[in-house]
């Protein structure tokens, strides 16, 4: 008799997910764990690690399937196909970079597997009317606008030079900067797209120096960000401000190179001292756990994993329902208010508030918009030491 009751209870537990103690969900996570983007990928991995701990506390047991895309689109596509067909995950979080996310977005449509992109910001990714792709972060257009808005609020820049890596993220960032600068009446005096990995950007930078731009806008990953700033110092470029569009400029590795990183502005999706619920605690917990400051990538990955896993657990792994719930849901966590909406040609795009930080003495400080400021911005650029 007792056996029968037990069996009945167990069946009930299985059929009513809300009733179960630990709901189990299978979530895929594609990230650049090795390769050129690995220093940033590490932030995403750490953010997800913290998310899994918090989910466990909430009674959601996540079985995570992790794949490394080494920063190559074809590898992320292979990882996505494996997760969608062989592992049969409920939903997928990732991949990190724009080129990878852009390649994978169409696969989400094909395999009808919900994809939540934490931080890849190429504009076009959510502009293709894709029903199964969601994006938490702001887009490259927002990267450029917030920086230019800040510069025009602090000074009167008339000219801008744009330097970008000739990849998806770089080209998209440069295009947005050019469009927004034109709207603000700032003349683009130089536009240089470079192939990453060259030892010598001096000639390009010399050319830019000769144009005497008021603003220098750069879109680069870690190694090139350091190289470009090093060589800018050598050549002696002194604009009113160096504006870095997130990515390489937002990392601790870059900030650590004080000689070249001081007073450089970087757009960011998140900072450790912003007043969104739980952001400060996340910052502290991250530092205590991993021994370094988190970048915005960690926060976006944390929040994405939380949203995806909670939604998937609630929907009991039903992918059609997960998609509907993501679309209808509203969250308010360390990334502020999140909801996936269709607007201005975007589909399933979260309208996220961007911030600007400036590196002061090897640390990232929030300097814009005024509502979120922690330190006063240094503007114009005081020159090289």
């Amino acid at each position: 008799m007792t056996k029968r009751v037990m069996a009945l209870l167990l069946t009930l537990c299985l059929t009513l997910p809300g009733f179960a103690q630990a709901a189990k969900v299978k979530i895929g996570f594609v990230n650049s764990i090795t390769g050129p983007e690995a220093p940033i990928g590490e932030n995403l991995s750490n953010g997800v690690t913290l998310a899994l701990e918090d989910l466990k506390k909430k009674g959601i047991d996540v079985e995570m399937v992790k794949e490394d895309d080494t920063g190559k689109p074809e590898k992320s596509m292979a990882a996505f196909e494996k997760m969608a067909t062989r592992d049969k995950v409920a939903g997928i979080v990732g991949p990190y970079s724009s080129k990878c996310a852009n390649a994978v977005a169409k696969l989400a449509e094909k395999y009808k597997t919900p994809l939540l992109i934490p931080v890849a910001s190429k504009d076009e990714i959510t502009r293709q009317n894709l029903k199964w792709t969601f994006r938490l972060s702001a887009t490259t257009y927002d990267y450029a606008t917030i920086l230019i808005d800040m510069a025009t609020s602090l000074g009167k820049p008339k000219t801008i030079a744009i330097i970008n890596e000739n990849t998806d993220f770089g080209t998209s960032g440069a295009k947005s900067a050019k469009a927004y600068a034109a709207r603000k009446g700032i003349t683009v005096v130089a536009e240089e797209a470079y192939a990453p990995g060259s030892p010598d950007y001096r000639s390009t930078l010399t050319k830019i120096k000769s144009k005497k731009p008021d603003l220098v806008f750069m879109v680069s990953y870690v190694a090139d960000a350091i190289l470009l700033m090093r060589q800018s110092r050598e050549i002696g470029i002194t604009p009113q401000a160096f504006l870095g569009a997130g990515a390489g400029f937002a990392t601790a590795q870059f900030a650590k190179e004080k000689e070249i990183s001081n007073n450089v502005f970087s757009s960011t999706q998140w900072t450790g001292d912003v007043n969104w619920p739980g952001a400060k605690e996340f910052d502290k917990r991250y530092i205590a756990r991993f021994g370094k400051e988190p970048t915005y990538h960690a926060a976006t990955a944390y929040e994405s994993m939380m949203i995806m896993a909670e939604t998937a657990a609630k929907a009991g792994g039903n992918q059609e329902k997960i998609r509907a719930d993501l679309k209808a849901g509203k969250w308010n966590g360390i990334m502020g208010e999140v909801s996936f909406r269709d607007y201005e040609g975007y589909t399933n795009q979260n309208k996220h508030q961007m911030l600007v930080e400036q590196i002061q003495n090897g640390k990232h400080e929030t300097v814009y918009p005024p509502k979120y400021v922690s330190k006063k911005p240094v503007y114009p650029f005081p020159g090289w030491k």
């Binding site: 080494t70 060259s198 030892p199 390009t204 000769s210 190289l227």
Partner: protein, 288 residues
């Protein structure tokens, strides 16, 4: 005008390092008639050696070449003695497969050991520069250019004046005749490959302070070294020096006047033109 001179100077300085890479490849080709496709990976090994000597033992990258050169020489000599000497008489495609395979093994071993993360070697002078008449010149590049010049001069003296050097040149001119004259050609091959490897390693050490390091960094330099060697004339040291500087300048000036994305195009158009009008290369003597 200042822009032109500025890009000319940085082109020449970076070209010095390219020359060093090219000379190593050309010596190996001259003596063995083998194209060493693992050349860029030897350079990558030099970079990692420099990086760890600097971070673990605090040895300055420019001083560390004193350690890098003999170590890379021994490594190169070992490769030649154990592996490459066996395929000297084999079909060219087998030789190519062997060197490509060696390169893959090297880069993947390093990737396993140190992961594929980018490493950045920051010395106190990595981004320092000085100014002459409005033209800023990178101090680490000037130092590496001077070291390159010294090494090239020493190498030239070694090949021209010493007995071993002459024996190496004799082997390069005609392997069989050299053997008939009593030259130990196998030993000369070992020395030549050792020299080539240590030159590649040195080039790696010299660009480490201003560049970044990762396991696959070699392939770009292998291609560059190949272009430089062919441009200068296969087997000619003066040609490789000239080719290296020429490529450096072409990249730099092309980057300014046509845009950074176009500089590779300039290099290869130049390359094609030289091959079209002087198929043996700038300093090459046409054979056959």
């Amino acid at each position: 005008m200042i822009i032109f001179i500025q890009s000319l100077i940085s082109g020449i300085l970076i070209g010095g390092v390219y020359a060093l890479i090219g000379i190593g490849l050309t010596i190996i080709f001259g003596v063995m008639r083998i194209i060493n496709f693992a050349h860029g990976d030897l350079l990558m090994l030099g970079m990692y050696m420099t990086y760890y000597l600097f971070t673990l033992f605090n040895i300055d990258p420019f001083v560390s070449i004193v350690i890098t050169i003999p170590l890379m020489f021994l490594y190169g000599a070992f490769l030649q003695k154990v592996l490459i000497n066996r395929v000297l008489g084999a079909l060219p495609q087998n030789q190519i497969l062997l060197t490509i395979g060696l390169g893959l093994i090297m880069s993947n071993t390093i990737m396993l050991a140190f992961t594929s993360d980018y490493k950045i070697l920051s010395t106190s002078y990595s981004s320092s520069s000085f100014n002459i008449a409005g033209i800023s010149i990178s101090s680490p590049l000037v130092i590496s250019f001077l070291i390159t010049a010294c090494i090239t001069a020493a190498l030239y003296w070694f090949l021209m004046k010493t007995d071993t050097g002459q024996a190496i040149r004799a082997t390069a001119q005609d392997r069989e005749a050299a053997q008939l004259m009593g030259i130990d050609v196998k030993r000369m091959s070992i020395i030549a490959f050792g020299l080539g490897a240590s030159l590649a390693g040195t080039a790696g050490a010299l660009i480490s302070p201003t560049y970044y390091i990762f396991p696959q960094v070699g392939s770009a330099f292998t291609l560059k070294a190949f272009v430089i060697t062919v441009l200068g004339g296969m087997g000619s040291i003066v040609g490789a020096t000239l080719g290296g500087v020429l490529i450096g300048v072409a990249e730099s000036i092309g980057g300014v006047y046509l845009g950074a994305g176009w500089k590779e195009v300039i290099v290869f158009v130049l390359f094609l033109l030289v091959l079209l009008f002087k198929p043996a290369g700038l300093m090459g003597k046409s054979k056959v």
